[in-house]
Symmetry: C2
């Protein structure tokens, strides 16, 4: 089942995506809900970020194929023994087709990171990895947009990965996806594939990451855990369109625009 | 004016504190609101964290008197040229009189950090320091509880300063406080003063920190910016009560309890 959040006629709803229509739902997507029979053409609504989390966590380097590139940033040439979570700012959240903005005062521009995201479905605290899997409602796609100068030189990732528009997610939550079997995570720039890796290659899987975080932090329904990225991301240019597809979930597409310096 | 958030008879309200009563308000504390004339004895309600932020930011070392102790953690012997913001996890938030819990798997126990907190009153993006002051609704007290082993050895402060119960705040928002004139920030353990520093000693003042964050991240009404701590915090023991007072705002008091290891 694909659960989307969308805006139509100035109101925000959730709905189940069935082909090219959305069947509006009433109730709580983290509890009881049902479809209402009120449908909208998918192309007639504005899809939004499918959840409004209280917090988002990314892991440290989580794909061995990303290690070589990451080592230049982190100084670590080997995979780490724990997931090393970090917080991604809530203000950075946006949805499908929303622009990713290159800040005018970015030092080195921005890079994509195509990722798979687990959406927490129930309050989660001090669970083991097996139980952690049961607390996941479903999965969506995300772009962990990154400014590498800030990532290297700031003491935290507050703006390197948390600046406004640096967290587009969507297009919806797929509840039937299984990242252990692994749909490929694909990034395309203007339609050209630049990255492909199976979710099953995650070094720490979602159960392990969520269990680890939950030892000290309560995860709430709607909270998001990012997979980490693989490969060697490239710099994005204004005017490009970047797609993140997770095969079995859907495609998240966002245009790149350059912020204009005031004055 | 002191604006509190509280629970009474199973419902949550905001109200204006007048002596030892709370005058319940209706409306939006960030917009239009008025007192209703429905009053409660202060001692008959449970005070809650006065806001529910979307994000909380702390600065790097922000008092010169904290530099010597902090240098052992950060490796920096001098004050830094920018505020170096970092994100404090939302799940860590709690209110007056809520227990601060020492995790059973903490390596070195936990320390208090008594701080003054600015509450953002309006959406804030790319403002200068002068304008940033206008975006502050008021101030409250907070305890930036810290686990130093995690702070030194983890790659981010996700649990070192973000574990559950590590962010008690309150008792209310004081809208008439001026940290540039500086009420003392005082910490007491079981009534004994262990720290005192004026808010006016902040190296980066709130206007500067908020302006700096707002260059890349939108701050929302209710978001919180912590002052940073001074001095040389001490380890907290189960059974103690720790008070953070900012003179001119009020007193935040929380008991310390040790988490029991399951099994």
């Amino acid at each position: 089942m694909k659960i989307a959040r969308f805006e139509v006629d100035g109101a925000i709803h959730c709905g189940v995506v069935e082909g090219d229509v959305i069947n509006q739902i009433e109730g709580d997507i983290f509890g009881e809900f049902k479809t209402t029979g009120t449908t909208h053409a998918l192309q007639a609504v504005k899809l939004l970020a499918p959840v409004t989390p209280t917090q988002m966590f990314g892991p440290g380097v989580n794909f061995e194929a990303h290690l070589k590139m990451a080592a230049a940033i982190t100084g670590n040439a080997e995979m780490l023994p724990t997931p090393e979570p970090w917080l991604k700012a809530i203000s950075s959240l946006s949805g499908p087709n929303d622009p990713i903005v290159i800040p005018y005062d970015s030092k080195v521009g921005i890079e994509y990171e195509g990722e798979c995201l687990a959406i927490i479905g129930a309050t989660t605290r001090r669970v083991d990895p097996d139980e952690a899997w049961n607390r996941i409602l479903g999965y969506t796609c995300g772009n962990d947009v990154s400014e590498r100068d800030w990532q290297v030189n700031d003491f935290s990732m507050w703006r390197a990965k948390g600046a406004d528009t640096f967290a587009p997610i969507g297009p919806w939550i797929e509840t039937d996806f299984n990242p252990r079997e692994g749909g490929d995570m694909i990034v395309r720039i203007d339609g050209k594939e630049v990255e492909r890796v199976p979710t099953a290659d995650m070094y720490f899987d979602f159960g392990t990451i969520i269990s680890f975080i939950s030892q000290h932090i309560t995860l709430n329904p709607g909270d998001i855990v990012w997979s980490g990225t693989s490969g060697h991301p490239e710099t994005l240019q204004s005017g490009q369109v970047v797609d993140v597809e997770v095969v079995g979930i859907g495609v998240l597409s966002n245009p790149i625009v350059a912020e204009q310096q005031p004055g």
